[in-house]
Symmetry: C2
Subunit: 311 residues, 2 copies
């Protein structure tokens, strides 16, 4: 890994770690590394030292641990439940990636997961809460400092929690600094189809800033400092969209930690870093392309994004 800038602070990633098996219209994967925390921590690690909190079973392959270590990811927060197997997810994408079905889900070690932060993590200034149950996301926040030393909190969620855990989610949103959410989830939460009005409505629910992800149509950022819109990176070889949103949120967290800032220009740049990382994620199964691409490829895509939006 390249040396991090002098400003860089650690980025803490909390979320699922999984073994996935994915079928796309074009190909079928082996058992591969998955889970929101895997994608997010690897993306974050390009910008700042990443810390991971999650759980795996005794069967978790050593090569996946080695992959985390290659990215300098601190695994003190990775619980190992030797008696259990690792969370397993298998899914199949529809023609044209127009949707996906879950074929099999085995929660295994993840079923009773309760994220516990090692004492050394309690001072982490940038924290990403992956899309686990809102009650567990709140449980993480309860372990972290409040007041002046509270961290900057980036949160993800998904439709299941919007539908089944709305009271906890509403409580969570009041404690989130930056919410990262996609179009469908935004509609479900706000009932608002106009994305600009939806962004304003989401901010009224608590988060100081909101990033609305539109997949191939790019991103919208609603920040106290202003409004920002960024097209997607022009991907032409979509292989597997799994993990795109996770690496997106992880890159935002990592970039903000790297500059130790959360002002409008910093979050705009973070959205661009996220766009670049997500574009790499979808070009392979698992984290292969994201992990192997290297910082130079990310920087090249950042320059491309800058060029293709200039007029």
């Amino acid at each position: 890994m390249p040396a991090y800038p002098r400003t860089a602070r650690p980025a803490l990633i909390i979320g699922s770690v999984a073994i996935d098996r994915v079928a796309t219209p074009d190909a079928q994967s082996e058992n591969i590394l998955g889970g929101a925390a895997s994608y997010a921590a690897i993306a974050a690690s390009y910008f700042a030292p990443a810390r991971l909190v999650g759980v795996v079973g005794g069967d978790f392959p050593k090569k996946f641990l080695q992959l985390y270590r290659k990215h300098g990811i601190d695994l003190a927060g990775l619980q190992v439940d030797p008696a259990a197997r690792t969370f397993f997810w298998s899914g199949r994408y529809h023609e044209n990636f127009a949707g996906r079905d879950t074929l099999e889900i085995q929660l295994n070690a993840f079923e009773h997961f309760s994220p516990q932060l090692p004492p050394a993590y309690l001072d982490t200034p940038f924290v990403m809460l992956g899309a686990i149950q809102p009650a567990l996301q709140l449980h993480v926040l309860d372990q972290l400092p409040r007041g002046k030393n509270r961290p900057f909190v980036i949160a993800d969620t998904f439709d299941l929690w919007i539908n089944t855990a709305r009271p906890e989610l509403d409580r969570l949103l009041k404690r989130v600094d930056l919410l990262v959410i996609n179009e469908d989830e935004s509609l479900l939460l706000t009932g608002q189809r106009n994305l600009i009005l939806a962004g304003h409505a989401l901010r009224k629910m608590g988060p100081r800033a909101v990033v609305l992800k539109k997949g191939a149509h790019g991103s919208l950022l609603f920040h106290p400092g202003g409004f920002f819109a960024l097209p997607a990176y022009p991907v032409t070889r979509l292989t597997d969209p799994t993990g795109a949103g996770d690496s997106y949120a992880g890159a935002i967290t990592g970039y903000l930690a790297s500059v130790n800032r959360t002002d409008f220009p910093a979050v705009k740049k973070a959205v661009a870093c996220a766009t670049a990382c997500a574009s790499l994620t979808v070009e392979s199964f698992s984290v292969h392309r994201l992990s192997s691409a290297g910082r130079k490829t990310i920087d090249a895509r950042l320059r491309e994004l800058q060029a293709l939006t200039r007029f």
Copy 2:
């Protein structure tokens, strides 16, 4: 109208002129000025002197002619068929503007429309072919100079012609410099869901450059000089989307005529002008907002577009 820049050449707009009656989820219009040529010519007139070729009936209200004249639009090419009525279209938009139904269509004077260019128009260097039958679009091109003095041709089309007049459309595309097309039409023409690959496929059909319109998700430009992506202007008061695409194509034509250039930077700026004009069009029924906004409002939106894409 403001004085045009010294570089400005005329912009010729060919298309339908109509009386519309529109119902949206929120409101119902009177009989209002409609038709692709109306929206396009008024948008173009903000940038360059516009010339209009179309047909109306003896019933066409004087106030609509006055509106064209207010924008300095040259009406030498507007045929009047005193024995006929003007093309009439009535439509109703679905909830959330998710689609629309045509309630009534009376072709009237438009039924036997054959665009004839006045001799004084034959030297127009920038020509927009609105989405009339491809055979009529070709008929216009047959009247214009070929070779060194041929104009720069901007063309629009729509799904009906893709489905019913494909051979003529294919012949047309080989003679078009800049095709302006939306996502659905692009999919119908190319079968390609990846918008980047679709843009490349469309250019292979003939047009040197392609603008792919994505509504609230903005635009993609595929030009020999490079790729450009622009988000939509953040509209929060969508009133009536009718004519958005027409004013978009008209603004492109007018801007290119105003600078008398068609290189990559010029077409990028033209796409931004088009985005600004379309955002005004959808904020009212008919051309009301587009016509009353004035160049200062368009320039303000151009600056906003520049600011909201910068990082």
